[in-house]
């Protein structure tokens, strides 16, 4: 009976009810959109890092510090025999890292030279282009990222000199040919980096079958490489990216909080107004024997029904939009995708985690419940005679 009465009241409220439902709809849409975009961004960034750089985890030489190129000259060791077999099965990709200098347009620019097997298929780096067919080619085929190409004014087909010191400290120099400018969304394999074939780099730096990193296809649970190597899990590798995103997400939470606050103010105001307008009706209901609890429940039902209608409207109108955002995504302007921020690609797709959606609905529901209960709790305390006389 109370639910019926609440429905009648909502219908009787006319435009006020429509506005309430619309506000709740907009709040839910806004919250889901913001959260969906952040979740989508994080998932994309994680996937891109996995596909282009870190795999399911990796081993690095114990001397290696990716932020300190001074360590590169001591950060390699012979590939252990049991890893060799995994490399053949494409379960592991070895990478050798050295530092050098590139001379684009006759300028000097410090670089990291990375050797990756041309026949690997684990990472998305277009390593097939690095294959050296002649024994002594005039120039070495190399791949660079779009950011590296842009900052140094390089493009596909360019020839440029590269100088480096080998493992014994002897200067060596070669002309390299940019055979491919890869459009990678992962800046950490792009900026100031030149990719060449693993075996070629080994021979250039007077090494044999040595590596700095081992990228793994599956998480290393049983693999033991000895004390020379340190295992870095995917989670650990992603820490920096996720921390940056979480910091940015804090701004999104502020917007969500503001939206929620506005919605609650709207519902609270509507309920206060309804209580004020309906004080005689409430008095009559009390005089007819309705208990305090029933009065509160009536108004709370009203608030909850707003929420239900808002959710239904969001489902009807929002679902196609969210499906579109999740499958097709939002095209980003070239300037933004050029920023080379993890997860930023040409189109940004959102992702909706069922648990997150449920959590948001529950949060809005609880707050709506509270905003509806508060004025009703106050009116339910008055006496029937006062209510009948309109003295609230």
């Amino acid at each position: 009976m109370l639910l019926k009465l609440a429905l009648k009241r909502i219908a009787g409220n006319g435009w006020r009810s429509v506005f309430n439902i619309l506000i709740l709809f907009l709040v839910l849409m806004g919250m889901l959109f913001i959260q969906g975009m952040y979740d989508g961004w994080m998932r994309t960034a994680r996937r891109q890092k996995e596909e282009w750089e870190i795999g399911a985890g990796h081993f690095e030489h114990s001397n290696y510090d990716k932020y300190d190129s001074f360590t590169f000259k001591d950060s390699f060791a012979k590939i252990p025999d049991h890893i060799q077999e995994l490399i053949r099965q494409n379960e592991v990709v070895p990478i050798l890292v050295f530092s050098g200098v590139l001379y684009p347009q006759g300028r000097m620019t410090p670089i990291s030279i990375k050797g990756i097997p041309w026949d690997q298929a684990l990472l998305k780096i277009p390593s097939q282009m690095l294959r050296v067919k002649d024994e002594y080619p005039g120039s070495l085929p190399t791949v660079i990222g779009q950011d590296m190409a842009r900052t140094n004014g390089l493009s596909q087909g360019d020839l440029v000199s590269m100088r480096f010191k080998d493992a014994r400290g002897v200067f060596n120099a070669y002309d390299i040919e940019i055979v491919k400018v890869m459009a990678t969304p992962v800046s950490s394999i792009d900026e100031s980096q030149v990719w060449i074939d693993f075996t070629v780099l080994n021979s250039l730096v007077a090494l044999q079958n040595s590596a700095t990193l081992f990228i793994l296809k599956d998480e290393a649970t049983q693999l033991n490489l000895g004390s020379n190597w340190r295992y870095i899990s995917q989670k650990k590798s992603l820490e920096d990216v996720l921390a940056m995103m979480k910091a940015d997400q804090a701004g999104g939470y502020v917007v969500i909080a503001l939206l929620l606050f506005l919605a609650m103010i709207a519902i609270f105001d509507t309920q206060i107004l309804a209580v004020f307008k309906r004080r005689k009706e409430i008095g009559t209901l009390i005089a007819l024997g309705m208990t305090r609890r029933q009065i509160i429940r009536l108004f709370t039902y009203e608030g909850c029904l707003y929420m239900v209608f808002g959710t239904i409207l969001t489902a009807i109108l929002g679902l196609p939009l969210f499906i579109h955002l999740g499958t097709k995504g939002i095209p980003l302007p070239q300037e933004l995708s050029n920023l080379n921020v993890g997860g930023f690609s040409e189109t940004m797709k959102s992702y909706y985690d069922p648990l997150t959606i449920l959590f948001m609905l529950i949060m809005v529901f609880v707050l709506t419940l509270f905003a509806s209960w508060l004025p009703a709790a106050k009116i339910a305390r008055m006496k029937a005679t006062q209510a009948l006389r309109g003295k609230v």
Binding site: S69, M108, D166, V170, F171
Partner: protein
Amino acid sequence: MKKILSILLPILLFAGTICAITAEEILAKVDENMNAGTVKSTARMIVETRRATRTMSSVSYAKGTDTAFTEYTAPAREKGTKMLKIKDDLWLYNPSTDRVIQISGNMLKQSVMGSDLSYEDFMEEIELAEAYIATMLEDKIYDERRCYVLDLMAKTENLAYSRRVIYVDKERMVPLYQELYAKSGKKLKTMRLSKVTKIKGRWYPLQVVFKDELKSGNGTTMIIDEISFDIDIPDHYFTKAVLRK
């Protein structure tokens, strides 16, 4: 006549052999001229770039091939910048930040104040006779001077430049031109040495033009205005404490 010739020819040939200088001896003489126990010099470094020409003045102190200290005295922007090399370590003091930093890793590969010299080049001080096996090539005239041309190949596998070609003034035993090669055979750097002057019994070039052959531009000129050899230099010039003084 035949008899006289048969006696004289071997004698002449033997005399020629004992008088001919070997490549190793040339290198030893070059080292003698170019290296000293201690050196103090005042020099200017002229860097020519596409946009402008900059001149930097400095005072340097060196002891053997392992230790060296340089303080820049001009222009105002570089004044007070100091560089200290002790064996394989290089430190730089910047007065504007009042900080001493160790130049390492990729930084060693960077150019020194926009010049054709990298910090790594500052670290390269070796005695040629000790480090290289020399082969004599055909003599050449360079800068109107008769020169021995030596092809130097590194004795060990850990020398920065595995090959050098050096033109040595026959009369003064000073290098006038050098080419430095990468292991691949690519020419990396050239040095043109001139204004050879006799200072305290040794010939010494007071002007050097360094050219990074992979880099565009006209190279970097180093002009030595004053130089003194084998003088007393206090040890504190070669400690890190001197950088902040």
